[in-house]
Amino acid sequence: MFDLTVIGAGLAGMLAACNAAKAGLKVKVIAQGLGALHWSAGTVDVLGYDPATGTPVSHPLQAIEALSAAQPAHPYALAGTQALAAALDEFQALAAEAGLPYAGAATAGENLWLPSPLGAARPALLAPKAQLAGALAGAPLLIVGLQGMRDFFPELIAENLRRAGHQARAASLPLELVTTRRDSNNVHLALALDDPARHAALGDALAALLQPGERIGLPAIVGLKEHAAALAELRARLGVPVFEVPTLPPSVPGLRLNAALRGHLQRLGVRLELNAEVTGLHAAGGRLTAVETATSSTRPRRHEAHSFLLATGGLLGRGIDSDHAGRVWETALNLPLAALPERTAWFRPGFLDPAGHPLFRSGVAVDRHFQPVDEAGAPVYANLWAAGGILAHADPVQERSLEGIAIATGIAAAREIVATRRPDEEVTS
């Protein structure tokens, strides 16, 4: 019998599993597929834009104080800024331990503004150290791409950066420097750059392009398993700051973070079962006793546990699904959804409307202990918690708060679960 079964293997689920396992709980993670980390830029976006005004945020934690007062149901308001700050520290320590250090702006507490794959400025509170030197204010940028690499266009990035008032220029190198494959995605390119001979060759070619005072932005493919060594070697060879610009998926920085967290889970003895689609549940006496997942047989697999954490993500992560008939539902446990607008009000007319889209604010409502509640505000199950993108009353796309909410609520929920574990439950096998 497990103390805790986490449903979902994204940032919130894996962090919660790590936290609970470190506290001595026997934890299992089940997930339908690999999480949304693979689509993420690998940065920790905490709050980039004010939800009320749509204006850029410079100091996220301060802005969250105000946000929490105005929106008491917001996941950040439920967690509190102190818990958010502590959770971010815990995340940083965990990432550093796995050899993937994260850091913030030189002035603590300020958002970084980093170049996106289109050359726009993206706000993030923390970034992998490989992306830090791309912070936009500063030395002129040389954005270098590889000819024939998919979805990475240095000219476009540099032009957009120049339009925003930054000094930037672009260059392209032959793809053969990195690989002789005829067809590669970002992961294949990153794997190729694990090879010291390859990144040495790339370094030499970059040195020939470099003009005094410039720093170099490369697509985020500088090594996968040997990322730290590859980046350090490139920097040493060139003697100038080298940074990664995130790419379209598959996102190597997201993959690296996923691998780091999975490594932690493995070391902590957390079982991970993928391809596990929840198809049913068992409840008794107001408690969830087991969830069932589909197998190759018509017999479902039962996952019994003392506690359950739902961390399946939002619409993109498929914690929430919808259909053309206008139905929206929580996919794993059929929990009631809060803040669900009428079908005609799901979206605002503009795709990139600064106010976001109302549908994205819907999700599972939780109480102060991160337990899903029904319309009357009572916990749905006494031993169920929820965290991350599944939570209602936030629009992570508009706010640029996806990772911040995942980290803050994942760890907060794990702490609640650890705290409620009764002594008599500790001795069960």
């Binding site: 690999l34 294949h188 079982r271 198809t279 068992h282 409840a283 190759s296 697999r301 992560g317 009631p336």
Partner: protein, 448 residues
Amino acid sequence: MTAAQRNEPGTEPVGQASSPAGAPVPAAHASLYELLDQCLKCNICASYCPVAAATDAFPGPKYAGPQAQRFREPGARRTPDHSVDYCSACRVCNEACPSGVKIAELNARAKAKIVQERGIPLRNWLLGRNEVLGRVGSLAPHLANLGMHNPVSRLLAEKVMGIAREAPIPRWSTRGTFGAWLKRTKGRRLKSDKKVVYFHGCSTMYYEPAVGQAAVAVFEHNGYEVIVPPQNCCGLPMLNNGEFPAAAKLYRSNIAKLLPYAEAGLPIVGTSISCVLTLREEAAELLGIDEEASRTVQRATWDMCEWLRDLHERGELRTDLCELAMLLPYHASCQTRAHRMGKPALDVLALVPGLDVRESDARCCGLAGTYGYKVEKYPIAMKVGQEAFEFIEDLGDEVEFVAADSEICRWQLEHGTHKAARHPAEVLAAAYGLYDLRKRQLVTKPGG
């Protein structure tokens, strides 16, 4: 769960005893082509595909699967691109997909369409018929091994047939087939009210009869009488090589043979993880067979470790296990993971005192059915297998055995690491004191 599977989303009664959220839906019954629409083109599958990482001959699951599928719609004249042939059918893509798209099955059907259009190469035809090969070779196993396992014939097989000369083709059992052993030991078999039907598969029959002997010993030790009914190849080698009509014949033949036992409520338990997957899901899904007889057999079918785990959860598994103090790497085969039943071998082996099982998280051993036997695919298979080989090698010289549920993985891991590979049932039989793991034979009990 999809909305269609529910009555009223969001209205599940709270706190009601044993209330499933929705009727458990057999995953097999959602149409493959409906699932196709769920593909977001997010590329997670392409990031984890071990074959695409090893070679650019395969463009990756997203391209070969959901994206190319639109060119293979009914009515499309010819398959425009044959790179899907490089898919090894390991299903890592299915496992990674956050949207539940069955990419590997799309690819399998695409391969079948190519075979339908162009016919099947002799080599693939032959590789699909391992049961016939097994039977013929077993008539004179020493001769067959000598004939097949020498450099000259392997070179010939490579040049003429395209079967890689280094590939780990199994050796015919020289201690007789599993069937011969059963016949020989008929008088010694346990009689009991508790009965289990054993599906041994071709590899146990002709190449690794010891796996079957260990399984029978474990069943009997737990008080079960073992029924070994007539059975034939599950059809997986043919499915893998795109020969769907021939595979359907084999599948239906097995269903007919096993149906009476399933109808009688007996569990049908297999030691070959891939045969069990084929019987239970893969064949019916790929071949589009949805019949009551087939469903009845599917419901009754178990992987051996899964069945033992269930027995243990019911408190009925004997745990008089002696200490096996050793470090044992375990590789969960692609097929094990495709069952979506967790890793029952780990749960069962955890009961053995002193046994230090280490779980490999390698994606695939590389061999993937008959894939790595093919000369153009052998180097890819070896490259894919590196992850598993390195995991085992990194555990050091202390490792004597490795464990895997699939015979294919066992052969490939032995080939790649030179360590002896065993089925978890063999390890368990050894822990019961019934089996010699090194000699790969049953321990003769005093007076037995």
